[in-house]
């Protein structure tokens, strides 16, 4: 059975104690008169993938950007590894929905861009970039330009760039929403591998219920107006059954169904 904790407050993850990598405390964010987030608290366990799932307008991307340090919360605070977040930092890397590649730069320069900004010497950063380009399966495209790549390949570049800076936390903002269905499935499988091998903490924003349940160790469901965490779901049984079997696992199907039931009244 899935462990469910339905509450809005501290987001404590039951009695199973995990080491917490990222925590947000009482975050509120207003854009002018519009309240995007209201007193939101959540904890993200180390080495796991947590999804932020919810209908559009629930503030999930806003929360991610606050964690990234790209937006400042109106009140509340974010801690990463016990350090208070005041802005973007080397401990977090961001993967963008629209890839955010530099169109005038080759794949290798794009992947090495984070290191370039940190002042890493050219030969060194290109060596690092090259290994990550290989790892995401783009070997041979080092000198290609973004417009020569398909959408899926562009996001692989974005992913390699995020991996190359070797941050402990990967923030992914609907990373697969702009790629086609088959590519997305492949990405999701690869992502499970990454979570397993990289020992990084992943925070993953998505609006796809199936995607959230498929890739996550923990799904936080956000509801709009007022924005809040409605529940946290931890799928327990199907994670170890192999990527091919997850989608027909009864627990997977149950969770997807259950989330849809609770979200459907917020759709239109």
């Amino acid at each position: 059975m899935p462990q469910t904790s339905a509450e809005t407050g501290t987001g404590a993850t039951e009695d199973t104690a995990f080491e917490i990598a990222v925590s947000t405390r009482n975050i509120s964010k207003n854009f002018g008169d519009v309240e995007a987030l209201n007193d939101l608290s959540l904890e993200f366990p180390l080495g796991q993938l947590t999804s932020l799932l919810g209908p559009s307008g629930c503030g999930k991307t806003t929360l991610l950007k606050i964690i990234a340090g790209l937006l400042e919360p109106t009140s509340g605070e974010v801690e990463v590894n016990g350090q208070k977040v005041t802005g973007p930092g080397p401990d977090r890397a961001f993967v963008f929905q629209d890839f955010a590649l530099l169109p005038w730069a080759s794949v290798i320069r794009n992947v090495a861009f984070g290191l370039e900004l940190r002042g890493v010497a050219r030969s060194e950063r290109e060596a690092v970039a090259e290994s990550y380009i290989k790892q995401v399966g783009l070997a041979g495209f080092e000198n290609a330009y973004p417009h020569e790549l398909s959408g899926g390949m562009r996001q692989r570049v974005g992913l390699a760039r995020a991996l190359a800076v070797d941050a402990e936390v990967l923030l992914m903002d609907e990373p697969f929403s702009a790629v086609d269905e088959q590519t997305r499935r492949k990405f999701q499988e690869d992502l499970l591998g990454l979570v397993q091998n990289q020992n990084k903490t992943f925070i993953f924003v998505t609006h796809s219920i199936e995607e959230a349940v498929y890739v996550s160790d923990q799904v936080a469901i956000l509801l709009p107006r007022p924005s809040r965490v409605s529940e946290i779901i931890r799928p327990s049984s199907f994670r170890g059954k192999g990527v091919d079997n997850i989608r027909r696992d009864p627990e997977y199907l149950d969770i997807v169904d259950e989330i849809w039931t609770s979200l459907r009244r917020y759709v239109e």
């Binding site: 950007k65 790209l70 629209d98 530099l102 169109p103």
Partner: protein, 253 residues
Amino acid sequence: MMNRSLTLKVLSAVILFGAWEIAGHIPVSFAFPTFLESMGALMRMMGDGTMLDAYAETLRPLAVGIAISAFLGIALGIWVGLSRFFDWLFSPIFIVMQAAPLAALIPLLVLAYGIGLTSKVLVVCIMAMPVIVLNTAGAVRNTPDSIKEMGRSYLATDLDVILKIIIPAASPVIFAGLRLGISAGFIGAILAELKITPTGVGDIITYSRSIADYPSMYAAIFSIILLAVLFLNLLERIEAVLFKGNQRGYASD
């Protein structure tokens, strides 16, 4: 059919110049020489060095004016594009300048700066600057937010964001503005030579008109238009090579 587009270009040139030739033979006006007469005059003037001297004279205010406009215009444009305050302060001036017939300032410039090089350079500048500033500012302002955000999230300093993200992202539009500015600069340079003092190509045009040597006059006009068009075409080619794919690749298909 080996190359339809090239064949048609040649054909269309033949038709136009043929029509010119025929109109010159009718003649439609005493002041309308034939195409071949004009080309003859052009060859003669190129042969005896008249043209070379004239262009050395004409291109000087143009080159100086364009250099000043490009340098100041791009710097100001970047500044205006980055800062809300300077946008508020400067944009209206350039928007008005862009819409206004700035040529009307020429008599005033002549009064203030005389009939020398300064006035002519200023004419080129006032014609070329507005479009360069406005294009640069617009391009800087329109840099996609997501790549600026990307820069910040990967710890770029403000200077990094400007130098490594905003300026490269804006450079195709800046370059296009420069091309439009040069096109306007040509208009200004010739206007200055016709209106202020006849020098260079303007002198050939004015002088040959006064002695009714119409083939030379048409030849001079033909040459300056040809030069401007060839130069601007060259810039466009350079642009295409330089910024290949730069505008694409933002989209997330």
